[in-house]
Symmetry: none
Subunit: 217 residues, 4 copies
């Protein structure tokens, strides 16, 4: 139990090193798999490509994951925590509407940048094969967003917005639709997601206030 002096902590750091390496490899595999699933969907994803991309042998995948499905599962779960980590500290002082809009913008940008929107699509279309997963995944993604919307609609005190507490989807749907659009309509100029979002929010919620203010006002 005593501390080793010169060559400190033999077991601990060595195991730590091992574990760190394992964890790094695990992460590499998940990253490679995520790219593969995003590029080809579940059924057409090839574990050989995942292994090659991750720089390991095919068999090595099975040291970390029991099966292709388990790997898919891990990719999804791995993506989950990233989805709604508050992107910027809540910054007290900003009016709620501004914070709300920032939050939505960040969520959109993150989905787009990470490619997780494509994962969501895959889960959607292959939900027949992964029934439980679809529920978990979508709940983990959507429920927090819904709560965000409901909170805002309630706290805003605007009567017109009351329906959003029942159908928070209404506010979020265009983001989903637009993100799909951009992923699919690669031959066209992409939609300007932030602007479109702003437009939609203005359409539904009214013009923004408190923010740097674009127009004169």
């Amino acid at each position: 139990m005593q501390e080793t002096t010169s060559e400190p902590e033999q077991a601990q750091p060595e195991a730590g090193l091992r574990d760190r390496k394992k964890e790094a490899k695990r992460a590499a595999i998940i990253a490679a798999a995520q790219a593969e699933f995003i590029a080809h969907g579940f059924a057409e994803a090839r574990l050989a490509r995942v292994a090659a991309q991750a720089g390991v042998a095919k068999g090595t995948l099975y040291l970390y994951f029991d099966s292709k499905e388990a790997l898919f599962d891990a990719v999804l779960r791995g993506a989950l925590p990233l989805i709604f980590a508050p992107p910027v500290a809540p910054d007290p002082g900003t009016p709620p509407q501004v914070a709300f809009r920032r939050r939505l913008r960040a969520a959109i940008a993150d989905m787009q940048a990470s490619g997780r929107d494509k994962l969501a699509l895959i889960v959607l279309s292959e939900s027949a094969q992964f029934p439980g997963l679809a529920r978990i995944y979508l709940e983990a993604i959507l429920e927090p967003l819904f709560e965000l919307v409901r909170d805002y609609a309630r706290s805003s005190g605007v009567a017109r917005l009351e329906p959003l507490t029942r159908y928070p989807q209404l506010l979020l749907a265009p983001m989903l639709a637009a993100t799909m659009w951009n992923r699919l309509m690669t031959e066209r100029p992409p939609l300007d997601l932030p602007e479109m979002l702003e437009t939609h929010l203005t359409l539904v919620l009214g013009p923004p206030e408190g923010e740097p203010a674009g127009v004169t006002g």
Copy 2:
């Protein structure tokens, strides 16, 4: 009904009969394939099941379609014309807003009832494999709807709605989202699509007028 005499005398009716039979079989195959693709997605669809369902041998599929992809293509194209057949005659005399809302309602109901919403999902998620198809399909479905929205926004003369001429998606997205929701969240009470649509339209367009009329002011 007459027997074919071995000499192609009445080429017309005989060929017509043949063609009708061929066409019927072709239709049966497409119907079976549509069900299969909807139920399992593209990759997991099995031609053996399609053939069995259509009541033909597996080899027979190849007399009508070159490949699994060609069959998928045919299914999609077969579904297209149905999507926007005007469901009810335009019925002159109804105010444009009412007609517009009816049209949207009909489109939604049709998508839902036919299962074509699932087809759309499949195209979405497997668009990497079917790049051209995705474009064609979505354009055929969405463009007419967009045009409908743009027309309405323009002709309404309401300034607030001007953004819809640039982003007609904003009005349609909730329908897409809701249809996906209901397809996936089978464990929960389904969203009431018509009501949700109405809510959304009211939220964006304002309360309906000319129709039975809900609130007053």
Copy 3:
């Protein structure tokens, strides 16, 4: 029901031809598999070799059998009926002891010649993997033999043989042992199975009577 004359019954014989071909191929596969299982045991048996030996593609095996285990099962079941088809017609007139001995001799010779003794061994040693099969197989092979022994012991009226009605195994075990011996001790001169059997029967049952009579003349 009528006899086929020149070219009658189109469906029947054509289907018959197809079926006959399928049946022939099925038989060829089973034969090839039996040889393979006998040569290498279950786990080391290679379906590639079975297919090659049977003159079919690997995938073809799966048109006839669901899995390697199912093929093994079929091999065993296919071997069963052969095991105790009465080799010669019972020939009334021969005294029961003679008939009994003949029967045993034939059973031994048949097991040896067909290689089914090796199959039995495989079932034995891999019974952990095929629990039900072991029971079925051994019952199908052994129970009839046991019954034969019991019948004889009872009908002989010899008091000394009474234990055989309880332990018919005692009379048959040497045949099992000897057949194993010859299969394993390939480097030694093989046991003369018939003679050994005769010796054993004489040892237990007493000298044969009624048969051509051996030495003296």
Copy 4:
């Protein structure tokens, strides 16, 4: 317990300790392997399970054995010496027939208790893969038993038993058969091996004498 000083001073006792430790580990591996082979046969045996059971890492196995086959070989050879260690001191004074029967009984009981009967089965069925081994193993087990039988048959002076000097198998086969039977027919009441053996010996050799005495004689 003393620290190794880096200079190999007391090579003898230290090495002895080391050797003992190594030997213990080696024994643990063999024991684990024997259990594994008995439970699953050779092909289905998993070195991972052996290592886990022995409490060592998988790689460690290869410090002691070159390959899975070498380990199997070691298991068999390790089991050999146990098979015919005279279970009770020959005890002079008992009549030969009694000693003989006791010996057989002990051999049977030992095979059963140790699970080595299953090992024998495995060797039998996989003899194609281990040709040399099969011979060695079976000779080591059977030859001593055969000699026992031959000795007895000769020394008994009973003419009827003369065939046993040529076919000692005849006396032993039921034990082999019965041991197999009990291993396989786990769903049925097991054969009472000692009683069956006694029955067989009585059937072939005549009623026992000198022992507690059943009949008078």
